[in-house]
Amino acid sequence: MIAPPPAIHPPLLTSRSAAALLDGRGDLELVRETRGAPVDWGGVMASCVRLTGPWRLDLRSGDSETSLPATTISAGLSDGLFVSRHRWGGFEIEQRVAPVDDVPGVVRSLRCTRSSGVAALTVTSRFVPYLLPVLVEGIRPHLFRLETRDETLRVQQRTFGLEYRSRPLPELLFVNRGSWIGGRYRGRVEEIGAQYTLRVDPSTPAELAIVLQGGLDRALDSRAAAAAAVLADPDAAARRVVTADRRWTDATPTFRCPDAPALERAYVAAREGLRRLYSAPGDDLTGLVAGYPWYAAIWGRDLAWMLWAVLWLGDYDWAARSIDSLLRFQARSALPVLGGEAGELPMQVAPGPIFLYGTSDTTLYFPLLMAGWSAHAGAPVPSAWIESVRAMIAWGEARTDPSTGLLRNGGEAEEIEAATAALARVRYGIDAPDTTIWDSADRRAHAVDIQVHWWRALRAAAGLVGDDRSGSAERWRSTADRLAATLGREYAWPAEGYLYDSLRDGRPIPQVRPNALRAVSAGLLPAALARSVVARAAADDLTTPWGVRTLSAKDPAYDPQAYHAGQVWTIATAWAADAAFAIGDAERGLRYLLTIAERYGDEGGSANECYRGDRPEPFDSCFLLGFSVAPFLTVLFERLWGLSVNAGAGVLTVRPAFPTSWGSAALDNLRVGDGSVGLDWSPERLRVRWLGPRPLTVRTADEVATLPSGQSADLPLRPTT
């Protein structure tokens, strides 16, 4: 068996609507171990559609031929662009690759020079067309329509399309390596090529620029002028993306902790990683894609985890638009063919719009998230959101046993299969009976974390709706109370000092998974049990030096390379940190955070989705996943800094949980409502600076102070022992 290629840390280039995937050697190639085998993810993604597979440039001069990567003398990111320099046959070539937003796509340009003599350089650009939403990970279409039109090449696959535009125009086109005179072609296409001959002399550099953009075919016509403008000045289009990124970063908090520089660097890396996932792919959708390379669509569950961090970073507008985007697809009635039930929020959304349902947890995150948005922004929750919340809770109530309050998870995929079984000529499926966050594991019928999400959703919804004549809020609080009682009664696992992972047919499922830690974070457990759960999770069958496993290594079902039955997930490590801080074990919480920070450092800014359970090696892992950066950021703000905010009331609570060995820490430019706060901590005092339209009340464990705008105050802190 040939070993998969080693894990690499690819330079990820994204705009809000496109991504260039490349390995840094010179072409848009990116072979990654994927579900155990090598798969090339290189190419261009735009509008959540994989436009191309690998996109390569070949060079020819006289009788000599080579590939662009074979001539690379240096390569790397420079000012948000991928820049590579090449030397071959007396030619000096500088390549620039950048995603743009003026049109959803990527610009690729070459600037060729020679120090002496005139020579012709033939460049052949070849790419594999895909044209299918990224969410369909395993399929490459084979049949395409090609058309040359208005100095562009159009490629269409049903409702998806791309446009290839270059300056100069190609002198030759190829389909499947055979010459094509242009016009229209319909049939099997494995590769498309375009050839250019550049005359290079010492006094005049030769330039080639290519824009490859697309997504939905119907949008291409309206973008023709914008695409032409990008081609006329590719660097300007690329710079606009870089400028927007800088502006965003400048608006987010800065974090300084001289006693743990690795944590400070990790904050910067995680924030940058989150920004790379920002997505406005078209069709009026806003959100963050779940990850790269194979989860580059807006997933409702992942979005919910990410938006908490987005709120702490102060981007309320993006959070609100993201929530609005998802709510547009809240199922208004049952849609079994898409796995949807009335009130349910979608699992995935992409331009088309294309959307699918069928998870047991996505819907549950949003009532609390909406309340969080209101608390951060200091604005009331829009009335449309309130109506959506009612539908969400009705969805949950339909899956709930009224006597216990337990919400049922599982069976979603089977429902889709049953709805479509008699309809298709070919049938296919994955026998996943359950769709919790570990959606390849069977955790039916009442997974513990689902119950925690449900409990939180009920309470948040009651708070959002308020006590009215309908009595809904009272009913929801009552269900939440029953659920909390059931959790305490039925899930406690005395032999392990832990919580059972689920209940099925009235029997507990005795598996040690990190999901139980969510009950600790929610404050649902008595103090002694909460401490025991955190301590049990820290044992080495669940916690490794590189993070927390999805299943105990002692479990008979443990497999170190099984996605949700043994692999280490960074989000689970963040849960462990959160729970440790929640019980006051700050030293342990910080160790978990530093474990994550170490991974970011080792991965050169990437944040892998998951690792093998038996060694710190990414396996079957997106190299950047929102799950791996956002919860880390949230724990940093909420637990390490001990921040909670109620901007509407003008209150910020700060209860830092820094180690006793630390001498200082600072957080600047933290947005609270319409204002900005700066925090400068030392063991003796917290200095607070406030700029905002109205006074801010700051609470610490010992003090309360109200600051007018533009004022600073020192709040004394009681020494910790």
């Binding site: 068996m1 994927t34 579900r35 155990g36 085998a37 090598p38 798969v39 090339d40 597979g53 594999v128 895909y130 299918l132 939403p133 369909v136 990970e137 395993g138 399929i139 490459r140 279409p141 084979h142 049949l143 049903r158 409702t159 998806f160 494995e190 939905l216 119907r218 069709d283 697809f329 208004r332 009635s333 849609l335 079994p336 063919v337 898409l338 088309g352 719009p353 294309i354 959307f355 709805a419 008699a422 309809l423 298709a424 000529r425 070919v426 049938r427 296919y428 499926g429 994955i430 026998d431 009976p433 390849s440 594991a441 497999d559 390379q561 996605y563 949700h564 039955a565 396996f619 079957d620």
Partner: protein, 161 residues
Amino acid sequence: MSSRHAGALFALLRQGLTLGVDYGTHSLEALLAVAETVEENVYAIDSFRRTGEGIEFALDNPPLRVGAFGAIRLAVDGTFVPPERVRWRAGEGREWRTADSVGPATPLWWAPGDRTEFAVLGTFGVDGRPSTVRLELRSTAIPPLVWFEFTETLEEKAPPP
């Protein structure tokens, strides 16, 4: 058409109309495009044929999931074929392997767009009715079974020229 099939079609029609009304016809069109692409780009149309030794067919893509598969099972009309009688190769001219040679340490690697030809030894579809072929794959990375089925009438393979 069976009543079950008709019922399913009406249910689909209702859901399609709901989608069109609630989310727009573009959405319906795009969802259909994805479904059709998946349906038409896995099983290679007209590749299901009778050979001298049994049957053959080809897939133009992995069925949904990519990656390494540590176990393969194949059933024809509900009966699983012994693994040593199920052969596959990664396209014409490549080496044949049998399903019993596939294991977690010697998996089948399957990437998007990879064409894979299957040859199954035995006697199938003798009554002229359509046969159902079911392929079951076990990923080495994600445990749940991946399965794929198609129902086709066997074509007699044209003799070599």
